[in-house]
């Protein structure tokens, strides 16, 4: 049999080949395989502890997997780490920088460590400072910067050396809305000529930035598909939040809410002084608010607030997990392959 090696351009820029990371008997990541091409922005989704950060750290070269291979632009990340790591820019989940260094000084240090040639150094640093909007703080101590600026310094250090793969672990957490939209625009822009992998908790963010989604659960890939595919199956679910005053109503309210048809997963999400907030999941087709208010009035339970909202990503995720939605998709996917 003659094997013809595919030309490099059609291969994924990043290739995970059955990557496993094991701590004792616990699998942080199990048999993870996927490919990412240039120009793709991939969203890593999954509840906490799903293995997102572990997978990203492996890709960033922070630690090696227990078994499996990561190939970056044809270079094995753990055979030739020096060569492969040049293609990587990594923004960790919590951006940790030297608090006693100044912004420009720090970026210069990073550029030296990444092996930028001295003659390109000033241009490289200048470019990243203006790209990330750091001009006004370049001479300040990093420890004194606001969280938004620190995040931008983190992004700037990831971008130094123009890596072809960007790994961003929850790039928008802790930023204010204006900064979030700026960073998102920047990521979209960067994603045009690179492969970007980001993890997030915010569902709308995924549809805004990513063109493909990889869902992880307990260290395994549960599903991978385009954002549209994902959305189509999530759209019909929503959450209703009901707030009642006083502990004495908790039991009755819970019983009433659980009794309504089509309602699932009733639980207390907030205990604040004397207010209790319930969350329940329902299909979107019918607005349940009038029914709930009526039932509460009949039972003489005061309602402080009732509100419809989108389910958070984790709730949807867990819901899908319970429904065996992934199982069906994986099976149908396997059938499709055969």
């Amino acid at each position: 049999m003659v094997t013809i090696r595919k030309p490099r351009s059609t291969e994924g820029l990043v290739r995970f080949e059955s990557v496993t990371k094991q701590y004792g008997k616990k699998f942080a990541v199990e048999n993870l395989s996927f490919e990412i091409a240039t120009g793709e922005v991939i969203g890593f989704l999954g509840p906490n502890g799903a293995g997102k950060t572990t997978a990203m750290r492996i890709l960033a070269g922070y630690f090696s997997p227990t078994s499996g291979r990561v190939v970056l632009d044809g270079v094995d990340l753990f055979r030739e780490p020096q060569k492969a790591k040049k293609h990587i820019g990594y923004l960790p989940e919590v951006v940790r920088l030297y608090p006693d260094m100044r912004v420009r000084e720090y970026l210069r240090y990073v550029a030296e460590l990444k092996g930028i040639k001295p003659k390109n150094m000033p241009m490289e640093i200048e470019e990243k400072i203006s790209l990330c909007g750091l001009a006004e703080v370049e001479h300040r101590l990093i420890g004194r910067l606001s969280k938004g600026f620190r995040q931008r310094v983190g992004l700037a250090q990831a971008l130094i050396g123009d890596p072809s793969v960007l790994i961003l672990d929850e790039p928008t957490t802790g930023l204010d809305p204006k900064q979030i939209s700026e960073i998102r625009a920047l990521i979209r822009e960067l994603g045009k000529r690179r492969a970007v992998i980001l993890s997030t908790h915010i569902l709308p963010e995924v549809s805004m930035i990513c063109n493909r989604v990889i869902m992880l659960h307990q260290g395994k890939v549960l599903a991978s598909g385009t954002v549209r595919e994902l959305e189509s199956c999530l759209k019909d679910r929503e959450a209703i939040f009901v707030t009642v005053p006083g502990m004495q109503y908790q039991e009755t309210a819970e019983r009433i809410l659980s009794g309504i048809s089509d309602v699932e997963n009733v639980r207390v999400v907030e205990h604040h002084e004397n207010e209790i907030r319930f969350c329940l999941e329902t299909a979107q087709a019918r607005d349940l608010r009038p029914e709930i208010t009526e039932l509460f009035v009949v039972n003489k339970i005061p309602v402080l607030e009732i509100r419809r909202d989108q389910l958070t990503l984790e709730e949807i995720f867990l819901k899908l997990l319970k429904d065996g939605w992934f199982q069906q998709r994986i099976e149908s996917g396997e059938k499709g392959k055969e």
């Binding site: 701590y23 942080a28 922070y62 780490p81 608090p99 460590l113 092996g115």
Partner: protein, 259 residues
């Protein structure tokens, strides 16, 4: 090599971003200065009146050996306190601030990281040695009989001892997230090495031979007499590289240990 220097420069510079570096420098200058003055005055006193030192006559004691030999032997006790102060932050601080994570994702080998850090600390230590050279010059200027050979070899020995101790400190620093723990641990290990000097040499049993061969001070003392022995140099080189190797193994544990 450029990357090692970049890390070393940053490590050296960070001593002056906080008061630790300045405090360490000032304390070291003060203590060594006091030692030098006391030893010089003592020598002057003994030479004038040997009886106060319990000597019936003033034998031919070398000025250089009395002042500088004793100075360097006393300094090795100071080194027990100095080294933990210099090395305690090197890795512990980066682990605490979690800045090591990013360092490991840059195109750097573990060796470059550890070597860079050690080099920066060595530069700081060497900076502290400069005033000691100043004392030698002062001694020479005021008319002391300065025998350059033993003084230079004592310098070399003290440098080798310090560099070897720094390697221990960096290793301990890789083990913990707390600078205090790192300093205490380093101090403990160095004190044990220091105490080996007190082990009896007589008897000649295997244990005694071993402990004596392991004692850094036994090897250091030769330098203060002006004896340059290849075995002593090899000993310190081995000491240094052994702990460097342990540091490398220690930071490698991130690959299999859950942080």
């Amino acid at each position: 090599m450029k990357k090692i220097f970049a890390i070393a420069r940053k490590e050296f510079g960070s001593f002056f971003h906080s008061w630790t570096g300045v405090m360490t420098t000032v304390m070291f200058f003060t203590v060594t200065g006091i030692f030098f003055v006391i030893l010089s005055l003592n020598f002057a006193q003994i030479s004038m009146d040997p009886r106060i030192a319990g000597l019936s006559s003033f034998p031919n004691i070398s000025q250089t050996h009395y002042v500088f030999g004793s100075l360097f032997l006393n300094l090795n006790v100071i080194l027990l306190f100095l080294v933990p102060l210099i090395t305690m932050r090197s890795f512990a601080e980066e682990r605490k601030h979690e800045t090591l994570e990013l360092l490991f994702t840059y195109p750097l080998t573990d060796l470059e990281i550890v070597a860079g850090k050690l080099l920066g600390l060595i530069w700081f230590f060497e900076m502290l040695l400069v005033p000691l050279a100043g004392y030698a010059l002062v001694f020479y200027r005021v008319g002391g009989e300065l025998d350059w050979g033993p003084v230079l070899s004592a310098f070399l020995g003290f440098w080798a001892l310090g560099v070897a101790y720094l390697s221990v400190g960096v290793f301990v620093s890789t083990l913990t997230k707390s600078s205090v723990m790192s300093a205490v641990g380093t101090f403990g290990i160095l004190v044990i090495f220091w105490m080996m000097d007190f082990a009896p040499t007589m008897g000649g049993g295997g244990m005694s031979v071993f402990v004596n061969a392991m004692s850094p001070l036994r090897h250091f003392r030769n330098f203060t007499y002006g004896i340059l022995d290849l075995r002593d140099l090899v000993y310190f080189a081995f000491f240094f590289f052994y702990f460097l190797f342990l540091s490398l193994r220690s930071i490698e544990t991130r690959n299999w240990k859950e942080s």
